[in-house]
Amino acid sequence: MANSDCIVLQGGNMAEAHPVGFQWVAEAKARGATVIHIDPRFTRTSAVADRHIPIRAGSDIVLLGALINHVITHDLWFHEYVIAYTNAATIVTEDFADTDDLDGLFSGFDPESGTYDSDTWEYAQAGGGEVEDAGGEKGEQSSTEGDHGPGDQLGSGGAPLENAQVERDETLQHPRTVFQLLRRHYSRYTPAMVQEMCGIDAETFAALAETITSSSGRDRTTMWGYATGWTQHTSGAQFIRAAAVLQLLLGNVGRPGGGIMALRGHASIQGSTDIPTLFNLLPGYLPMPVAGLHDTLADYLDVVSGPGQKGFWGNADAYTVSLLKAYFGEHASAENDWCFDHLPRLTGPHGTYQTMMEMLDGGVEGYFVVGQNPAVGSANSRAQRLALAQLKWLVVRDLSLIETATWWKDSPEVASGELRTEDIETEVFFLPAATHVEKAGSFTQTQRLLQWRHKALDAPGDCQSELDFYYHLGVRIRELLAGSADERDRPLLEMTWDYALDEHGDPEPESVLKEINGYEVVPASGEGGDRTAGEGPGEAGDEGGGSAGSEAREGVGRALSGYAELAADGSTACGCWIYSGVYAEETNQAARRTPHGGDGPAQAKWGWAWPADRRILYNRASADPDGRPWSERKKWVWWDEEAGRWTGSDVPDFPAELHPHHRPEPGTGGVDGLAGDDPFVMQSDGKGWLYAPKGLVDGPFPTHYEAAESPVRNALYTQQQNPTRMLYPRGYNLDAPSAGEAGVEVYPYVFTTYRLTEHHTAGGMSRWLPYLSELQPEMFCEVSPALAAERGLTHNDWATIVSPRAVIEARVMVTDRMRPLRVDGREVHQVGLPYHWGVGEEAIVTGDAANDLLGVSLDANTQIQESKVASCDVRPGRRPRGAAAEELVADYNRRAGVTPQTGNQRLTDPEQEGRG
């Protein structure tokens, strides 16, 4: 970030939510960069930005689309970069129909399931035919209630294509080139539309456009940074795609100071997707196999990497087999498909919200809650609490007795009598956890940098690290199952579970790191090792116990130097292919701490960045097609003709000796299929995608839809909301009417939820700490003076906020930082709600939870809830207590005519169905 000339922070509040990372923005600014903050609220980020541009929450694609339009119309795009490095020149099949043709829908929509068949979005095949669809049956998985999650089947590589024998027109004149389709798609995203939908006037838009375009090109780079202000929408993935399209047009990807920075939240939230806690991913963004679709490893690999596709996903077989070898050791062999059948299969989206609803339906017996506080922190937290009461047992591992551990005695539902403690049958176990200073391990931060931290002190009492807890839990379960002949138990019994142990009998974190890194498999000397299912119960429990200290593990050989060493023949094991190299040369590379990262702009001697210690992804794009830096000022990696290899300030993200002018034989797949000007080595055609022929479930181009609840009409299309959004019409999950529907005036205001610097998400790590609690002691709502006047709200007094789901109260903060926006010919008021507080008895500070107000509407790509835009009413005074609170919400819903079907129509105009 420090290398950037212009930083646009949009969909995030970096100074408040990422204050430590913000040092790099501060440094860029000190070096002369312009910082622009685009956000509904004037925040602490706006306070130190050069400019704050208020925007209506949820309208970001209109603004980004208008910038794309501006860049194309005024010929401000980076020609050489765009033609060589993106799919601008690629020709799309003539079956494709755009949203302008279908009034807000793309071709291939099925209104019954709410899904698209993306066949008509594909590239036209060179020679006239269309690209064969490798994973043809995808999208046909079994599902519940019309839920769908085709995106779940795709890892980070996005969708595979057959080899990229695409038709290209580098003059970009062909009407079906991606470039021409792009131009047409965004032609109605104009400054006037920005004024109408975002509330940003033409002058401000022009200034923004001028700043970013003059800060892009050979000599300068612009960067975008976003966070949950973009992800937490029903079109969240497309918000980010829109920025990607713009940045590719401006040539700001793969270059120092460019890119789109996903500002991740907690210390290792990036790590928690790399080695995922997500239901739909395996480590390294390999997709989780789907029942009926991935019956064999070969089926699975066909979907992960089309046989002819270009680039490094072509080696997915090596990544997957090595992962299975890491999981199942000597039990995994070519004969048994490397134990591929031991992996669980998805039968639908099993995200946190679907699980919660399943609980309410009585379908979930037990629940582990680790590192989260859903009774306060998840959308529709009221439903979350009611769902917990349907469990047989609940395990909460946390630092404090958070609300998710105590809801059965002190939740608002217990206070109102809706739940009675004596009637709740859920058995709740609270297990105290060790803090980050009480355990060693790595954090992976937003730059993909792994930083090792050492243990500072022992955890008090019974507090245990996650690693120790799960290791010992696994040991105990395997003890219980030892000797079992049940097929179901085989995966657990055949799993490798023999990390080196320390003097307390706890696993050594570095032993896990080596497994993640990958190692050469040493063939077992005798038979089978000591982990087979047939052994006696006593012995299973002893495993590893005798080898205190860091003794070499059975079958574990040399640490691999990187993922290029991975093989599909069972000779290597690797817990997460993108992390391979973090333990190269048997050394913990994540623990490197040379001050300032040593010499050089990449700061390469601090920590370790995946993949392969590259600090900037796709950095081949930092050089021109001939391999020369675009400019002296922005040079990063380049081709050294004399040495015959790529070199520079960073580890080249490209085959080291691939000449920039190399062109492969047509039809070559995998890494060998990459041309010397294919910088996007993880994309199946080696190009940056202005148009996504596959991989996104809601369209190949980002398109503006209103939020699931919005008092504003979509001015671009008849289609009001994202037609693929995931709907959950339930009595406890009602939606407010949107613009154009009866009753919209009952919930006239938009509210948006967010964090404050002083607190940690749902408060588990801050509301129990006096030094943090005193800094923001009470729940409040932020409103503009105009809204305060309209509703009679008094600064520092109380307000009651009502949504179709719940009612809460908050202290009122009247501030000019909230500004009503002139949108669609009228004033739109936005209410700001931090979501840190919860009702309970244990925390130092408590308060109503903003998440009670939110409903569950999800982005179909990501299963992420829309928590940045929803509808509410605000009134002065405190909320009613007890049953009266529920009656107030019911009264609002009666007045608005809300039923479970409200807001849950996929198509705004049912007439559209035939056309889709």
């Binding site: 204050p19 130190v48 800094l775």
Partner: protein, 355 residues
């Protein structure tokens, strides 16, 4: 602060200079091994994260303050420096009118020539180290006066050149350290509170039980904490004296993510602070000015120097801080004259009576 202080003859009392420029370290007899240490708090890059407040309390083991109620003062819920809050971040929301007024007042400071001295010695100064007639004045109408701004500023003990608290302390509990900072010795302080009145900035406070009684607004207990240490004695920032002795950076500066709080040798900090003001002025931000860098002010300049973007009062800082003992010499002289006069009058009375 100049490195070779000129002594003001009028300020000397019993060899102890009471106001004006001086070297506070040698003044009290330290050998000058250490340079004077201080802070430069550049409020123009503060992001209001309050990490300084938290790091300070963590390191110094200060108790939680206050009654855990929202104040309504923007995002400021700790309100002021006190016995347990030794760093405090102020939040000030301003509209266009206030911004223009701040720019105008800054511009006046600049055009007065630098450094400026208002009547009686101003706390703020306009900028650059060497006033030069060649320095072009910043443009009169900067292009982008924003509609709104949100000022954030981390306040701290000033560690004055002439420290009122130290000068009035009857027990010697307050001392001048070898780093030129002012520190309370807890075990000497008898809690008389004279220093509280002696501080022109309102920084020093006696610690009560460290927290008000739990709030009664909701009738609930809130945030019980263990017994408060050092109850009844005067407390304030030590500039992390313990850390300085171990050659460590004070906790607040160490934790500040944007280097808004910088720690170092006082003279170097003042030089870079002046350069920063000049840089902001060059961008048209005439509202930038230094606070505490003027050694001719009422406290002889401060060890903690601030870059402000408005008048000091806006941040809750006194515009013309003045050490209460500044006039001690004059008062002493006048008291002497008065005494002589009274003696003279008495003598005259006796002499007259004999007549």
């Amino acid at each position: 602060m100049t490195s070779s202080p000129q002594r003001h003859s009028t300020g000397d009392l019993l060899g102890h200079q009471l106001h004006g420029p001086t070297d506070p370290i040698r003044d009290v007899g330290w050998d000058g091994t250490h340079a004077r240490k201080g802070f430069f708090t550049d409020t123009s890059i503060c992001i209001g994260c309050k990490a300084c407040e938290v790091a300070c309390k963590e390191w110094n083991r200060n108790p939680r303050d206050g009654d855990l109620e929202i104040t309504g003062w923007s995002y400021d819920n700790s309100q002021s420096l006190g016995a347990s809050t030794w760093r405090h971040v102020a939040f000030v929301e301003q509209d266009r009118e206030a911004i223009e007024a701040a720019r105008e007042s800054g511009r006046r400071l600049v055009s007065l020539g630098m450094p400026t001295v208002r009547d009686g010695g101003a706390g703020s100064e306009g900028g650059g180290a060497t006033p030069s007639p060649d320095t072009p004045l910043p443009p009169t109408s900067p292009p982008d006066t924003p509609e709104f701004r949100w000022l954030m500023a981390s306040d701290v003990c000033k560690h004055c050149t002439h420290a009122g608290c130290l000068d009035v302390c009857p027990t010697g509990a307050l001392m001048r350290t070898e780093f030129g900072t002012v520190v309370v010795q807890d075990d000497v302080c008898n809690g008389c509170g004279t220093c509280v009145a002696g501080c022109p900035f309102g920084v020093v406070e006696r610690r009560s039980d460290g927290t008000a009684a739990p709030t009664t607004r909701r009738g609930e207990r809130k945030g019980e904490q263990p017994a408060v240490p050092k109850e009844g004695v005067a407390q304030k920032c030590t500039l992390c004296y313990d850390r300085l002795r171990d050659e460590e950076t004070p906790a607040c500066a160490k934790t500040c993510p944007t280097t808004s709080i910088r720690f170092g040798d006082h003279d170097e900090l003042v030089t870079s602070a002046r350069a920063r003001v000049a840089e902001l002025h060059a961008k048209g931000m005439t509202e930038a000015r230094l606070y505490g860098a003027n050694e001719l002010d009422g406290v002889g300049g401060t060890g903690s120097v601030f870059l402000l973007l408005d008048e000091p009062e806006v941040y809750g800082l006194p515009p013309d801080p003045r050490v209460p003992t500044a006039d001690l010499g004059v008062m002493f002289d006048r008291a002497g004259i008065a005494a002589l006069g009274m003696i003279g009058a008495a003598v005259a009375a006796f002499v007259g009576a004999r007549r």
